[in-house]
């Protein structure tokens, strides 16, 4: 019998309600114990609508995104499972999409993935059988048509809320909005962007995206995060693919008495500014292995003050 797994994701409900959404990143541990996943989730859970679990971010091995999301889902949290094309082919991907839905994981962030050279196993074989866009379309087909890529029918369609990443901050700038359109056509329902440290660039991008009518079709969450120090900012921009940190930001950090406080302040200012941009539905807060700092930031930003009910 063909059917569909029940229910809309909580993140989808929040976004559809028109509320400003907050998602935060949880970095899976280098551990076979679920304890730190639960500890970090506890810190984030009351402050955000969904928790992203990264998929071997920067091509460094950690507990898998799938397992981390499953742990979160089992404990009643709302995960966004990040799924990259770097480590698995279309057979594994489609199996994981079914498994995710069966385990109550409904939000999937479809990514191409960083190259293996960026991580701790540069000697690994990069897969890239699909890319983010073909992954989106594959998931959409399973969800809506109820078939695998091969055409074979599913018994029960997965219930998925599909996300994609966007990076408005790297070239080719004038192609980026068109690429976003491709992602939406392929099935993206929400977008989480790369770290934003250049609000002017984001505004130019959002202007084009709005003009193309894309924000009527997709929810855009802007990636933000605190920088610990000028030194760490410099390390990030030369080692983490796709993160652009302008010189003025680094200069400002260098000139501050407490660089960590300044980093937080910059982040809070960016949150305030991006939420004023037309077409922005929320923020996605990231800070590698600093879940408590993320929680502090969300609280201090005051984004959630208007909430009367928890989702």
């Amino acid at each position: 019998m063909s059917g569909q797994a029940e229910g809309q994701s909580r993140l989808e409900r929040v976004l559809r309600s028109g509320r400003i959404a907050v998602t935060a990143e949880l970095n899976p541990p280098d551990s076979a114990s679920p304890d730190s996943v639960y500890e970090n989730a506890l810190v984030l859970a009351t402050l955000c609508d969904a928790i992203n679990t990264t998929d071997a971010a920067g091509a460094n091995v950690h507990m898998s995104s799938f397992a981390t999301s499953a742990l979160l889902s089992k404990a009643g949290y709302e995960p966004v499972m990040q799924m990259s094309c770097r480590d698995r082919n279309r057979i594994a991907i489609q199996g994981d999409l079914l498994g995710a839905s069966a385990l109550g994981i409904k939000n999937i962030l479809c990514l191409t993935g960083d190259g293996v050279q960026a991580g701790d196993h540069p000697d690994a074989k990069p897969v890239f059988d699909l890319d983010s866009i073909t992954l989106l379309k594959t998931a959409k087909r399973m969800k809506e048509k109820g078939t695998f890529l091969s055409g074979r029918k599913l018994d029960t369609n997965p219930q998925l809320f599909l996300g994609a990443a966007a990076n408005p901050f790297v070239p080719p700038f004038d192609f980026r909005p068109l690429r976003l359109k491709k992602k939406i056509d392929a099935g993206a329902q929400f977008i989480q962007t790369q770290y934003c440290f250049n609000v002017a660039r984001l505004k130019a991008y959002m202007q084009e995206v709005n003009d193309m009518g894309l924000t009527d079709k997709v929810f855009v969450l802007i990636g933000v995060g605190p920088l610990k120090s000028a030194k760490s900012a410099e390390w990030i921009r030369s080692n983490v693919p796709g993160v652009v940190i302008p010189d003025v930001v680094i200069k400002r950090l260098k000139g501050a008495q407490s660089q960590a406080n300044e980093g937080k302040k910059i982040c809070l200012e960016i949150i305030e500014e991006v939420l004023e941009i037309k077409g922005v539905s929320g923020v996605h807060v990231m800070a590698y292995r600093q879940e408590e700092l993320v929680a502090e930031l969300i609280t201090e930003s005051g984004i959630l003050n208007s909430r009367t009910e928890k989702y």
Binding site: D114, R179, D185, P241
Partner: protein, 151 residues
Amino acid sequence: MRLFQSYPALLEHFYRVTAIFLNLSKPLILRSRMIQRSLIITEQLFKKPVFDCQMCGQCVLHNTGMTCPMTCPKNLRNGPCGGVRNNGNCEIKPEMACVWVNAWERSKQMSVHGSKINVIMAPLDRRLQGTSAWVNELSGRMEIIQDEWSS
């Protein structure tokens, strides 16, 4: 020979002429295994020096600014990843210009097929690696793959 890639409009016309010639020879090509095998060699001779062709067997050059997407270290066929460097170079090979930055710039110079860069391309059929893209085009194999994908 790579210099030819700086003239995408010229290459686009060359592509059109090749397509017309191959279509005219279609009955002959599809009948003869020997011609098909010789086409593989001809393709390698032309496409390797000009495009650094990887013989994926599913040539989409006119959809990608006459720039081979298989030379992207992630083999991306639908646009640039989010890792492109500030200077427009590749995340994985810092000394190489991003294949998709080039593809986009070149497609803007192509009057006939330029807008095809917006088509969502099917994932590769890995069985076709090493076969002739020209033969796969003429036999209708390419069309079937893309149609099934778009349906």
